[in-house]
């Protein structure tokens, strides 16, 4: 498995599906309530996808799977996402 990186690494895959850049969007952790830009969160590249963990409490926020038929976004640890236009 690759070493930990951060949410900046998600800009490419998510740009395929979102019109706005997602890495400046604010993500709220449902575990600890921390709000941070996606770019600041901890990202663990894994063969099955990118596992995104909260920069504060390290709970899993989301898993981004780049599947052949399209992306799957598992948002299990996210209360909400704030986009800024």
């Amino acid at each position: 498995m690759s070493a930990r990186v951060d949410g900046n690494a998600l800009a490419g895959i998510l740009s395929e599906y979102f019109r706005l850049d997602t890495t400046s969007a604010i993500v709220q952790c449902s575990g600890c309530g921390t709000r941070a830009a996606l770019a600041r969160e901890l990202v663990y590249p894994d063969p099955m996808g990118f596992v995104v963990r909260c920069e504060r409490c390290e709970d899993v926020l989301m898993i981004v799977v780049d599947a052949p038929g399209g992306a799957w976004l598992d948002l299990r640890g996210v209360d909400g996402v704030q986009f800024r236009g």
Binding site: A3, R4, N8
Partner: protein
């Protein structure tokens, strides 16, 4: 690919002509996708060293010994070869010439690349915002963009300071060592100047530096922007 230039014993810069490239902001990156003959693909992100309009862009890539993509880009890619790229990407780790806060840049190794784009943008835009670059390298020959940085550091608005971790120049006053709190404190702006910071390099380096910076209480935590390359 148009041309390459050797930057360090393990890295080179790569000029690409990308038809339809919309230009990019300083600090943005792109994804490179390589596809093997058997259909296996590998995607990696690389920061863009160039900035502004035009379809000619520059990357600088360090060869990772166990990498799947970087050895190809550093050793095998030839002028005329085609690459599949996606970008420009990212709006978080970026600097705009209209930004007014003093800027502290801290690079570890190839982490200089997006910061170089910021320094170039600062220079070409005529910005007079003070820039400090603290650049950690193994040895003098591991400095990317060495000649250009030497020339740009003539500007009264840019200060460049090196930290050597393995081998320093002969007359260097400090023994080679990992970046320290003292080195960061010595290069820092005062809290009253409300500086912002961009830190880029290997994950361990970035997290160590960011922790030191938060501890110094010069920067509000949210004004320290980081980009982790992974690796050691």
């Amino acid at each position: 690919m148009v041309e390459t230039r050797i930057q360090t014993p393990s890295a080179r810069s790569i000029q690409l002509d990308v038809p339809g490239w919309p230009g990019n902001i300083a600090g943005q990156h792109l994804d490179v996708r390589l596809t093997a003959e058997d259909g296996y693909t590998a995607v990696r992100s690389y920061s863009i060293a160039s900035v502004g309009d035009g379809e000619r862009i520059e990357l600088a890539v360090d060869r990772l010994p166990t990498g799947e993509v970087s050895p190809y880009l550093v050793e095998e890619l030839r002028a005329g070869d085609q690459l599949e790229v996606r970008g420009p990407l990212g709006t978080y780790f970026v600097w705009h010439p209209t930004d007014t806060a003093p800027v502290q840049l801290i690079a570890g190794g190839s982490g200089i690349v997006p910061l170089m784009a910021m320094i170039r943008s600062h220079e070409t835009s005529g910005s007079t915002v003070p820039f400090h670059l603290l650049y950690s390298v193994r040895s003098p020959r591991d400095v990317f963009f060495a000649d250009e940085l030497r020339a740009l550091a003539e500007s009264p608005h840019l200060r460049v300071t090196y930290v050597y971790t393995r081998q320093a120049p002969p007359d260097w006053p400090i023994a080679p060592a990992r970046i320290t709190t003292a080195a960061i404190a010595a290069d820092a702006f005062s809290r009253e100047e409300n500086p912002v910071a961009f830190v880029c390099g290997p994950t361990g380096f970035v997290e160590t530096v960011a922790d030191i910076m938060v501890g110094l209480r010069i920067f509000a935590p949210l004004t320290i922007k980081t980009e982790r390359f992974g690796g050691k």
